[in-house]
Symmetry: C2
Subunit: 372 residues, 2 copies
């Protein structure tokens, strides 16, 4: 019988990854117990052993792209993983207390960190580098994010005085842009106190109201609704509730723009490491899950797919994070650095390997809106 | 108790349609038995009584738009309709003999009729008037169809020498364009003998092979596959088989472009009148049905929605048909005229009322194709 180490080396070889090899995607194993730990503990142990410095890779994004392109993670099916999956089916982790855990773990981790990593408007979703209608290609992250925000305003046909809701408003980038450039009256809701604080500090005299609120509690009519990178926290058991809530709060002739990362295949959970350290109780929707959740509520007006650009965005965030690290060192430890690096670069790889997509979907009620 | 007539008048009034009124959308009832016939026979009797001249409307498309916008057809639920629905669930009408019935009833009705009605390339699907990348807006039907064909070639990244399959190739418009303008080698399959004959007559020296073949029988690898306005004949019970067939015949790095009319809500049948007189055994897919059928097979690269332009296209076809009618009178009778008019204008209304959509969906295999 092969040892854990022999088995591990053989699996890496399947994806052209050489243990202690010289290519930038080759894994350097610093502690041979890494193999057993991973085979027993699955993806969670894999990430944790990285954070512990048991292994390293020069280019983590290239390494993960090879892993995903060859579906290597399917070689490690543990009993623990099975229990984890089971839990995501039996519980509704995105309801009640569970739904705000991600704010504590992730979004409240420090506004300064995000300010260093993101563009000047603090947009924490995929940028848009391509041309869109009258917008030229973007030359850098700041432009890519401005263009993305503008593209959204164009897609929902935003007009002066329109009342817009942003579900999961982050640090207020969209609402700020919509109010500043289009003269919209905005409401932004978030479950993160840090985001709320920052957004309120930045809004100045703009007609924006920010609230610490769960989407289920909204009860107010809007001309347009957007939700950018928040649906990933909703959970499949709540998709219908989410869509019904948006439907209820959207005027008859209004448009709803949903931006979300999507997966190719329907699942009910996220990676256990991501779930523990980055986005607790998150999960990516599939096209099937989304279309099912909007049946009898919304019509699909437009479905725009641009996942590859999330790879660019994440690599840019990583570059910014790495550059700013010397100034952050006092607040965070070395393990945090490894964790954040693992998060950004493995995420970039999910887009590069085309396992994940980025969707902008424009939805309307059963009205007579002409979108195309 | 209200009489059939009183009930009928009241239902029309709900949609602002006045019986024997003066507006172009008002119904003129020439035989009062029309009401009972419709209440007993449902949508089939409604259409047949039109063909019999029992009622007329100056602007049938405006009339139907009002009907659909107000969901009037839901007021007529008959026992016969229930049986019809039941049959579509119990049987698989798009398998075996049932799958070629539409060729006999519709596509073989006369190439000359289609030549009079359609553009010069004989494209029998929705045109594209909007700008697309380097293509300007179209000024007329000929341009709108050329641009549509070119847009498809662009979307699948067609290159010289590529081997392309067109499932349901009609009179050969796409294959002809792809071979002529892009130097592609094409295979087109159809189940209509009339279409096959016409396509073969037109192809000249172009490297195109046309076949009378069912999609289930294809067994050959292609660089790209397209299917334009044929999925409406596949039937929900065969969607998975259809997608598996396309998957099997597409090279690993190839793209599949599916163009289909879609509905907002999942159904399993079409309107009984359309089923009897125009498209036997057809049914429109919903987004949910499509996404379900491609799970674990294809990735969604792009989903383009432009249904409103089918309204323009159909109105243009109607105009051409009406204009050419004097030359066709010898071959078809007055009832045929009414039938065709009812088909084109009620279809235009399904798009104008936004009940139906037109989708172009680009799908890839689990490869590393960069589409966006």
């Amino acid at each position: 019988m092969l040892s854990f180490k022999e088995k591990g080396i053989a699996i890496f070889n399947m994806a052209d990854i050489e243990v202690n090899g010289n290519d930038p995607w080759d894994i350097q194993v610093h502690n041979d117990e890494f193999y057993e730990r991973t085979f027993r503990g699955g993806p969670l142990a894999f990430g944790e052993s990285y954070m512990d410095g048991w292994w390293s890779v020069e280019s983590l994004d290239q390494f993960f792209t090879k892993i995903f392109n060859n579906s290597l993670e399917e070689k490690i099916k543990t009993y623990r993983l099975f229990l984890y999956y089971l839990k995501s089916i039996l519980r509704n982790p995105q309801k009640g207390k569970g739904s705000i855990k991600v704010a504590e773990v992730h979004y409240n981790v420090g506004n300064n960190l995000y300010a260093c990593m993101l563009d000047q408007r603090m947009v924490y979703t995929c940028g848009y580098w391509n041309k869109y209608k009258n917008l030229p290609s973007a030359g850098n992250l700041d432009e890519a994010q401005e263009h993305k925000l503008d593209m959204i305003c164009q897609k929902i046909g935003l007009k002066k005085g329109d009342k817009v809701l942003d579900i999961g408003c982050g640090w207020g980038s969209f609402t700020h842009y919509a109010a500043e450039k289009y003269g919209a009256k905005c409401v932004g809701i978030t479950i993160s106190k840090e985001q709320l604080k920052y957004a309120n500090e930045m809004k100045g005299d703009l007609p924006i109201e920010y609230r610490l609120e769960d989407y289920r509690d909204i009860d107010e009519k809007f001309d347009c609704i957007v939700s950018l990178g928040m649906f990933e926290h909703v959970g499949y058991k709540n998709y219908k509730t989410y869509m019904k809530t948006v439907y209820k709060n959207l005027k008859e002739d209004g448009l709803f723009l949903l931006q979300t990362i999507g997966t190719n295949v329907s699942v009910k959970h996220t990676d256990p490491w991501i779930n523990k350290y980055i986005f607790p109780n998150s999960m990516l929707p599939s096209a099937t899950q989304i279309t099912k959740s909007i049946e009898n509520l919304f019509l699909i007006e437009d479905w725009h797919n641009y996942g590859v650009q999330y790879d660019y965005t994440l690599m840019q965030w990583y570059k910014n994070f790495k550059k700013a690290w010397p100034q952050m060192k006092d607040k965070y430890d070395e393990q945090f650095y490894k964790m954040w690096e693992y998060y950004l670069l493995s995420s970039a790889a999910t887009f590069r390997s085309r396992r994940s997509k980025l969707w902008q979907i424009v939805l309307s009620k059963q009205g007579n809106i002409v979108f195309d």
